[in-house]
Every structure is written in C-alpha cells, then in structure tokens.
Amino acid sequence: MIPALSLRNLTKVYKNGVTALHGIDLEVAPGDFFALLGPNGAGKSTTIGIVSSLVNKTSGTVRVFGHDIDTGLAAAKACIGLVPQEFNFNIFEPVVEVVVNQAGYYGIPRRLAFERAERYLTQLGLWERRHDQARMLSGGMKRRLMIARALVHEPRLLILDEPTAGVDIEIRHSMWSFLSQINAAGTTIILTTHYLEEAERLCRNIAIIDHGRIIENTGMRQLLNRMNSHTLVLDLVNPLDAVPELPGFIASRVDDHILEVEVSRDVNINMLFTALSARGIEVGSLRNKTNRLEELFIRLVGNKEDAA
C-alpha cells in the first residue's frame, strides 16, 4: 500500500543557520489519523511546511501518495489540504471568496467551488458570515475558515497545524467530531496540537518530535500501554498533617486537604482504598493528575532534555 506520506532522512537548515530537522523518517498510512507532537520549536511546522512546499527542504525525500515533491510536485500538492498554524488569508477578502479563490487555484470551476464553499462553510458554522470580511471573524472562526479553505479541493491528506489553538471548548468538541467524520469518510489526517487530550482522543498513531528528531513513533494504544504508573490526586474530607504510610504506594502531600498518590500499572486501585480506609482517611473525590498521554509526553521530552 502506498503511504499517504513518506519522509526519508528529511533535513532542514534555515538560512540563519538553525538546524530545524536532523534527518527525520516518517510514514503515515492512508486513512490514518496521525498526531505529530512535540514541544515549541521542535520542528513540527517546519516538517509541515516542507511537505506543503512552503519551506524548501535542505535534503531528503518527501512523497505524498507516491508523488515525490522533487519530480511530481503538482500532483503531490493536489493531494494535500493545509491548515497552517498562522492565519494566512487576505483579511480584507470576504469569507466566501477566501474559500472560492482557493478552489480556483486548484483548477476547480467557480460554480462547483461555490457549492463546496457553501457545504464546508455551513458544516463549520460560517455560512451566515460569508459576506463579512475575514478580519471581522473571531480567532476561532478564522481557524474554522482555514479548515473550510483546506477542504475545498477535497484533498486525500489533510494536514492541520494546531487547528484548535484558541478555540473554545464547545467549538473544539464540534471540530473533533467534524474531523472524525472527515477521517471516517477516508481522508488521511495529520494533526499537530499541544492539547494532548485531543491527540489521545482522535489519533491512532503518533510521532513525537523534539529538537528536530523523531523520538517516538508508534501506535497511540501501544504508547499508552507503556505507561507503568500514573498519578492520582485525592481530595480529602478531613485535613491531614503528615504524609500517611501507604504500603505499596508513593504518596505526597500537596496541602492538608490534597494527597497525590503514584499508582503503578499492575496494582489494583482497590488496594489503595483499603490502605486509606485502614488509616481512617476519607476521600471526597479523585482525579488523574494529568491526562495519560500528557504524563508520558512530559517524561519522554523531559528525559531527552536531561540527556542533552
């Protein structure tokens, strides 16, 4: 099967001498919902920029559905829909024109372009605002405008660079279900985000990039299974003035009403409660300290930092 995206030994050295990518290899299968994660400055946008030909690569190969960008650039471009990290439409253009013009650059006749603009702007809740200049949209609406624009030529590979940055919770949830639908209908999606809950919820495969190198590339489930412990936060009913002794658990006191307990994967939580009850500690409520992926991510990227 031809991968939707295949990167081989991709490097990028910017003109100012910054090496953003140190030879990365990556493969994304057709139909996948793929997360590309990494801290600020890791090289995510650089990678996406090269794939969408907004950034010149220094060396390496990029293939989009088998089309090498060095030899079949136009064919590769036709496969990709891009939602960039920064707003990049003409703010004085009316919303509908932003979408219709973009369709034009892909050779889609105006009538069809209007039909699709109506469909996608409606789905993204922007059709009512179609005659407004793009600058009059709110930040979250501008992000959705860029999604509609990226879909207008019905790309096989949709690349979203932090599409939910600055988007409120309700809209974010509706964006998630929208993207899931698009993916279920067959579009391969690559997503970058700093909301790890989002990646955990949506994506099946994941790559973590740090300082221009891929430090992890695996299935979401495999990665999460690798977590051998997680931290629970307990809100206590009665104040506690010392860290209690809980055999088999590592506990720490945040304040007199909050206790954090690290629980390893092979231990049953019931045992924790048995130990707590034995000491007469009443627990009012309980939650995970961070989302699982977030905890893993911090460890992976953090370890790397210590090593460097």
Partner: protein, 257 residues
C-alpha cells in the same frame, strides 16, 4: 494541471487581482484622475498658453499622450508591487504556493491585474483629458500596443520590486527615486529635440522616453525617435523582466523559507 484547470486557476487569480483594486477604487482609480486634471489646469491651461506650439501642436495637446502614459506606468507598477507585497506580508501568497497552479500562471495573473488597472486608469485619464482638449488618434494600433506593452512592462517591474521588498518602505523607494524622475525626464512635458545635444543623448538612455514617444506617435503622429527602436526596447525589456520574475518565483525568493 490540464489546460482547462490552468485556465480556471489563471482566471481565479486575475479576478481576485481585479476585485482587489476595484474594491478600493478611491485609492486606486480616483487619484490619477485628480492628478491629471491638475496637470491639465496648471501645465496645459495656465502655463501652456504662454508656451506656444510644440512640433505643430498646442502645448496642451502635446502633453496629453505623456500624461496618459505616465498614469498607466505609475498605476500598473503600484498595483502589482502593492498587491504582491501585501500578499507576502499577510502570507496569503501561500494560498497559491500550496496549490498546483504553475508559477508562470501566478505571474501572469499578477501582470493581468496590473494591466487591468493600467488600462482602467488610462481610460479614466483619457476621459478627463477630453474635458480639456480634443485628442487626435493618428494610429490606433500603435497607440494600443504601446499602452499594453508599457503597462505589462511596469507590472513586471512592480512584481520584481514586490518580490525583493522586505518592508513597506521598499515598495515606495523605487517609484519615488527611479520611476518618477525617469518619467518626468522621459519627455512627458517637452520634446527631447528642445534639449541641448548633450542632454539629448543622455535622455536616449531612458527607456521611458521611447514609450512616451511611441505613444505620442500613436496619438499625434509626431515622434523624436524611431518607432522600431521603441518597440524593440519595450519588447526586449518585457521578455527580460518576465524571465527574471519567473526565475525569482521558481526559486521561491522572498516567499519560501
């Protein structure tokens, strides 16, 4: 992209470019009409009446072709330089760069926009001129072809300026310090034959002189330099600048990191 898709893509860029300047017509179409009217009042009517005939034409009539061409030059250039630079500044040039539309069509689309604005201004200014003086038409084909070629040439020049520009200052530098002086010294307000021999030969190094002269020939039927030289110069410049602009675009100069 197949031929039909390319045609659609070109049309999309052209329509966008035309809408851009049409939407802000108060900034793009009105000012040249006002300026030209002022030129006619001051140079044509007030001063011109003291000057007497030039090459057998009243001064007012003599300066018409140059004034029209000057407006066309300035506006073609301004349209492309500001459109390209602002699409670089706002990054919406990326909308074209990510799409499979070939670079030569992107270039032609911007040039088409400059040409459309140049011609629109040309027509508007001619309309203004007709309030002041009748305008003869000696040779329609010469007049039209020179107008179009000149507009294309300065659209290309504006494009190249836009590619190199890194700030809003850079897009007014060339128009102020190169274009305006060359236009004023390009025989818009006088016949080069009126200059001392030394300055005549210096003037012949100014490409705008040839265009003004050829356009004046198209309208009035009088000229200082040969028509063939004028066409050769303009066509040569258009071909050279087109090749250079396309090269810059292919390399992604100023638009791709």
């Amino acid at each position: 992209m197949n031929g039909r898709e390319q045609y659609v893509a070109f049309k999309a860029i052209l329509v966008k470019e035309v809408l851009r300047f049409a939407r802000i017509w108060i900034q793009t179409l009105l000012p040249p009409m006002v300026t030209t009217a002022l030129y006619f009042v001051i140079f044509g009517r007030l001063i011109g009446s003291q000057v007497g005939d030039v090459n057998g034409f009243r001064y007012m009539e003599y300066i018409v072709p140059g004034l029209i061409l000057m407006a066309v030059i300035t506006n073609s250039y301004a349209n492309v330089v500001s459109s390209f630079y602002s699409s670089k500044f706002q990054h919406n040039i990326e909308e074209m760069l990510v799409a499979p539309v070939p670079n030569y069509l992107i270039l032609l689309g911007f040039i088409g926009g400059g040409l459309a604005r140049g011609l629109a201004v040309g027509v508007a200014v001619t309309g203004v001129a007709l309030f002041f003086t009748p305008i003869p038409l000696h040779n329609l084909w010469v007049a039209c072809s020179v107008l179009v070629l000149t507009s294309v040439l300065f659209s290309l020049a504006g494009f190249i300026n836009g590619v190199y520009a890194k700030s809003f200052d850079d897009i007014s530098l060339i128009p102020t310090f190169v274009l305006t002086p060359l236009t004023y010294l390009g025989g818009v307000f006088y016949s080069v034959a009126m200059l001392p021999t030394f300055w005549q030969s210096v003037s012949l190094a100014n490409p705008i002189l040839y265009m003004v002269d050829a356009f004046r020939y198209g309208l009035l039927g009088v000229s200082d330099v040969s028509l063939a030289t004028a066409y050769a110069a303009v066509v040569g410049f258009v071909a050279g600048l087109f090749g250079f602009a396309l090269h810059l675009l292919n390399r992604g100069y100023g638009v791709r990191a």
